[in-house]
């Protein structure tokens, strides 16, 4: 596929801030029409990568292309960008501000105004159209911010941590809107440190940790590839068939025993041994690992914080 097939393509991108390397040798692409998740702990380089895609930062090495060319202003106009650090003009009325945001992206004033009120309706905020932004709750402000991102019908949505700060109900609302956009052909890239969110939404994921890419590909094939590594078993009778050269370690999860196989090992061998033994096998299940497990497996347990949520050495973005 040439660059035109990709909404976004990064090649060998490196960005340093002084002595700190925020992104290192990053190759990454988002094919048009997909929903793609950029995953990684805080401080792993997600926001820096996104800012380079938006042309706000420039890579020290490597190249960034947006719709097959430099991320200049004419291409950026086709992008709806929700930055991680969000802000609104505090003293401005909501509808006026949205109209302004549409206008600076080339939407006609009257049209922008109409679209903004439609969206406010859709997200249940029409009563707040004439209120000042700082009269709104945090969640409402975030919804307003999202509306501001999509008023110009962008071909590509880049959402940096769009779900953070939203309650579960509004997370669902946002999720369904993202799906709607995808159904209409919009390409979507979002970053998150919430793995389950990515799991529900993404076609493709790219995981980064400590400024480097860890894993990248289609969610389905990633999971299929990882699936052969873990087997959940339940049985009655002797257990001597379980341990063999194929099994690296075992772990009790949810009442069942999970066998983690060595690389290249075939689960069929274990199953055969079990059938030939005295044991009654009740369950022999290839477990689909969660993204979280995949991430841990590839980034190492070091990248996972105490709360089970991956976190990095440089909290606070960048």
């Amino acid at each position: 596929m040439d660059d035109n097939g990709y909404a976004i393509r990064l090649r060998g991108v490196t960005k340093r801030f002084g002595k700190h390397t925020a992104v290192s040798g990053f190759d990454f692409e988002v094919p048009r029409g997909t929903i793609c998740g950029l995953l990684g702990p805080n401080g792993s380089g997600k926001t820096t990568s996104i800012r380079m895609i938006m042309g706000i930062l420039h890579p020290d090495e490597g190249s960034v292309s947006l719709f097959g060319a430099d991320p200049d202003i004419t291409r950026r106009e086709k992008v709806g960008y929700l930055p991680e650090e969000r802000g609104l003009y505090k003293k401005m009325k909501v509808l006026e501000m949205l109209t302004f945001l549409a206008e600076i992206r080339g939407v006609k004033r009257s049209q922008g105004r109409k679209k903004a009120s439609d969206w406010l309706d859709r997200l249940g905020l029409s009563a707040w159209a004439d209120k000042r932004a700082d009269d709104l709750s945090k969640g409402m402000q975030q919804k307003v911010q999202f509306i501001g991102t999509v008023l110009h019908d962008p071909e590509l949505l880049i959402l940096d941590e769009p779900f953070s700060g939203l309650d579960p109900i509004n997370q669902d609302v946002l999720e369904s809107i993202v799906r709607d956009f995808h159904a209409r052909g919009t390409t979507i890239l979002f970053s998150t440190h919430l793995m389950h969110q990515a799991e529900q939404l993404c076609h493709r994921v790219c995981m980064i940790s400590n400024a480097k890419k860890v894993l990248d590909g289609e969610l389905k094939s990633l999971k299929a590839a990882e699936r052969k590594g873990v087997v959940a078993v339940e049985w009655e009778g002797p257990d001597d068939w379980i341990l063999g050269p194929e099994v690296d370690r075992t772990e009790e999860i949810d009442g069942g025993l999970h066998l983690f196989l060595r690389d290249g090992a075939d689960h069929q061998t274990i199953l055969r041994r079990g059938v030939e033994s005295e044991a009654r096998i009740l369950r022999f299940d290839l477990v689909e690992p969660t993204l979280h497990e995949i991430f841990v497996r590839h980034a190492g347990a070091d990248a996972v914080g105490d709360n089970g949520m991956p976190s990095g050495p440089h909290p606070g973005g960048a």
Binding site: L101, I104, R105
Partner: protein, 416 residues
């Protein structure tokens, strides 16, 4: 592309013009000016009205006709009361009853020393007192000189020192021009500072509220900066437009009305002569616009490199010096507008608005080419400053954390 600049201009303009503070300052400004200039004149005279009926007891028989015109000119009505032994107690009674504002006692001693006593119900103002005092001493002096055969009256009333300038160039400002030049220079300093700081605050607000990242993703930083400056500048022009219009109304209608209603208040018509004409106003606006463009770009850069109000307060000091230094020179420049120092300082673009204005308004014949040159230099400076400040702005608005050092700033300018 220009549409989004226009959108920024419109937002910046409407947000400000619609605010309460704009209304208060715009309407309050002229009201305040009228308050501090016209009203005191009106009331200062009025307060003395009741006490103006004065009796003059002339014990010398020669002073009354000399003193009376002076008191009348000062706004008193006077009548002569002949001397008698109990005259004072009678007049005292009249004053206590409110029939008399006071009485003046003139006697032989007055003729010798100029001393006299005014018994008054209301204390006269200091200025009035001086004028009354000189009326009395002058009357005494006139009488004494006349006794010696000297025509004191024409000598004393005819005094006038006419000034003829030998060399036009050496002329410092006369008093009316001095006021126009000085007030104008100070006003320029104020409005340039006021609106430039507004640009700085707007930049800082966008930065701290993180709005800027969204906006920068859809327009060039340079366009955002331009829109902001033009928008705030337009607010400034609107405000001054309102002030000028109300000023013109006051002078063309208000002052003549005031003169007509209070013929007894002298000096009002002189105020009109002091007011700058259309040419001067145009020049003033020119200096404001270019000065504002230069300083607002600098202030925007300051706003962009800071993260908090407190930081910005400190960081703006070096920029503000370029406004304060010319203000320190204003007096000197107005009094000596044609010296090489004045000429040189007034041609330095950042000083031109305050100092070139001062020179021209001082009434000196500043060559037209110098004024033209200062405008050319200022326009050049606008572009140069915009180039540098625009680069600092571009990098700064997305920076968080501590303020950059000067070498870092230089790197921003080179690399942006």
């Amino acid at each position: 592309m220009w549409n989004n600049v226009l959108a920024v201009v419109r937002r910046e303009y409407l947000q400000r013009v619609r605010s309460k503070w704009f209304l208060i300052a715009t309407i309050g400004g002229p009201v305040f000016m009228i308050g501090v200039t016209v009203v005191p004149i009106y009331f200062a005279e009025r307060g003395q009205q009741e006490a103006r009926n004065i009796a003059i007891v002339d014990g010398t028989d020669v002073l009354y006709e000399r003193v009376a015109p002076g008191f009348e000119a000062a706004g008193y009505t006077v009548h002569s009361v002949p001397w008698s032994a109990d005259v004072m107690s009678g007049l005292r009674q009249q004053a206590t009853d409110g029939d008399l504002g006071g009485f003046l006692m003139l006697d032989e001693l007055t003729l010798q020393t100029g001393e006299a006593t005014l018994y008054a119900t209301d204390r006269p103002s200091a200025i009035r007192r001086i004028s009354l005092e000189s009326t009395v001493t002058r009357s005494a002096l006139e009488y004494q000189l006349e006794q010696q055969g000297i025509d004191a009256a024409s000598l004393l009333s005819g005094g006038d020192l006419r000034i003829e300038m030998l060399q036009e160039d050496g002329a410092g400002a006369g008093e009316p021009q001095f006021m126009v030049a000085y007030i104008g220079a100070f006003f320029l300093y104020m409005v340039i500072l006021l609106y430039s700081v507004a640009v700085m605050r707007a930049t800082l607000e966008e930065k701290t509220s993180r709005v800027v990242e969204v906006i920068i993703s859809s327009m060039k930083p340079w366009h955002l900066l331009l829109g902001k400056i033009v928008g705030v500048g337009a607010v400034g022009l609107t405000q001054m437009g309102v002030w000028l219009l109300s000023g013109a109304l006051i002078t063309s209608a208000g002052i003549p009305m005031l003169i007509a209603s209070r013929p007894d208040v002298s000096g009002l018509d002189e105020i009109q002569g002091l007011l700058p004409g259309f040419g001067m106003l145009t020049l003033f606006m020119g200096f404001f616009i270019l000065g504002f463009f230069m300083f607002s770009s600098l202030y925007a850069a300051v706003g962009a490199m800071c993260s908090t109000d407190e930081e910005a307060q400190q960081a703006q000091v070096p920029v503000m010096m370029f406004l304060i230094i010319p203000i320190m020179f204003v007096m000197n420049v107005i009094q000596n507008p044609m010296t090489p120092l004045s000429t040189g300082l007034s041609l330095f673009p950042l000083f031109s608005p305050v100092l070139m204005w001062s020179r021209v308004a001082s009434g000196a014949s500043v060559p037209a080419w110098q004024v033209a040159l200062s405008f050319v230099l200022m326009i050049g400076a606008v572009f140069a400053i915009a180039w540098v400040a625009g680069r600092i702005y571009k990098v700064g608005i997305l920076m968080a954390g501590k303020r950059p050092t000067v070498p870092e700033l230089w790197r921003w300018v080179r690399e942006a």
